[in-house]
Amino acid sequence: MMGESSISSDMIRGHLDAIILRVLSEGDNYGYEIIKAIAKNSDGQYELKEPSLYTSLKRLEAQKLISSYWGDETQGGRRKYYRLTGEGAEAYEKALAAWKVARALIDQLMERQE
């Protein structure tokens, strides 16, 4: 069981940026809520670790696919919200289309035809 879940997180890691872009395409959000949204989208099968989230967000922001702003919470630490940019929306559509092509191809290559 343990092995299975670590294999799937290895496979997911390469697509983490697109997965985060999808969450942000549904609205601006901050770190913990992004992790929660991804857990919910996976029906609890996948939980993103916080360090991986920060690494991805930083990369996406450097590529200008997302931008950030601070929330105005009155109590507790300030939340940093992320917003999808125009370029980010385009990048998301491209990544999704590329994934669909790859998935079809890999299916075709891996599944034995009876």
Binding site: Y30, Y32, E50, P51, R79
Partner: protein
Amino acid sequence: MDKIQQHVDRLFRPYKGSKQAQELKQEILSNLQARVADMTMSGVSREAAISSAIANIPSIAHLLDEKPRVFLYRFWVEWVQRVLLFTLIAWIVTMPFRFVGNGTGSNTLLMFIALGIGIVYGGLLLLKRYDRKTGGMNVQAALRLRKIGWLLWVLLMGVSLFYTTALHFGSNLWFSRPIHISGPYQFANVAIDYLKPFVTLLIPLALHMVPKLLMKYEVGEEDGCTE
């Protein structure tokens, strides 16, 4: 929330003064607080929620840029200025050595070092046109270098103090001949022999300032940076 605050403070202790780190700290803190609030809402005990939140983020070293962009010129000007100041202070403090005779050499050497650094500082001030020049500087390496500097210095001081003691008081221990400090002049000579090695304190001090200054002159999000 105190335990979380403590954990986050501990994670970020080496990066005090870094803008980049302060922003990340705020973000991590608010996310951990949100996680604990959410878990306690769904029935997890507060203690368990806090320890699971903390376990989620054990270290932050790889989340910060190894080489953040720094205003190079401003960094070097302030560093050289501070080293110059420390050298001048050391020069002034060691002046009384001259009255005794012992230690005149160290005092003269300090004067020349201060002069040399002064010339470098003057040269730097002439290069004002590079004021907005930035470049990547390795803060982690500077932190390591600082640690090594202090370690070597403490070691050196240990050896030196042992050596001076053996030289002056060895005869008392090994040959049971009582030591004669026959007057203030002899006393001053012995005292200066002990104090002289402390002049090398300048080296770890100079290294000590590097990481802090690097973080001070880090290019923040609001500075428009020029390559």
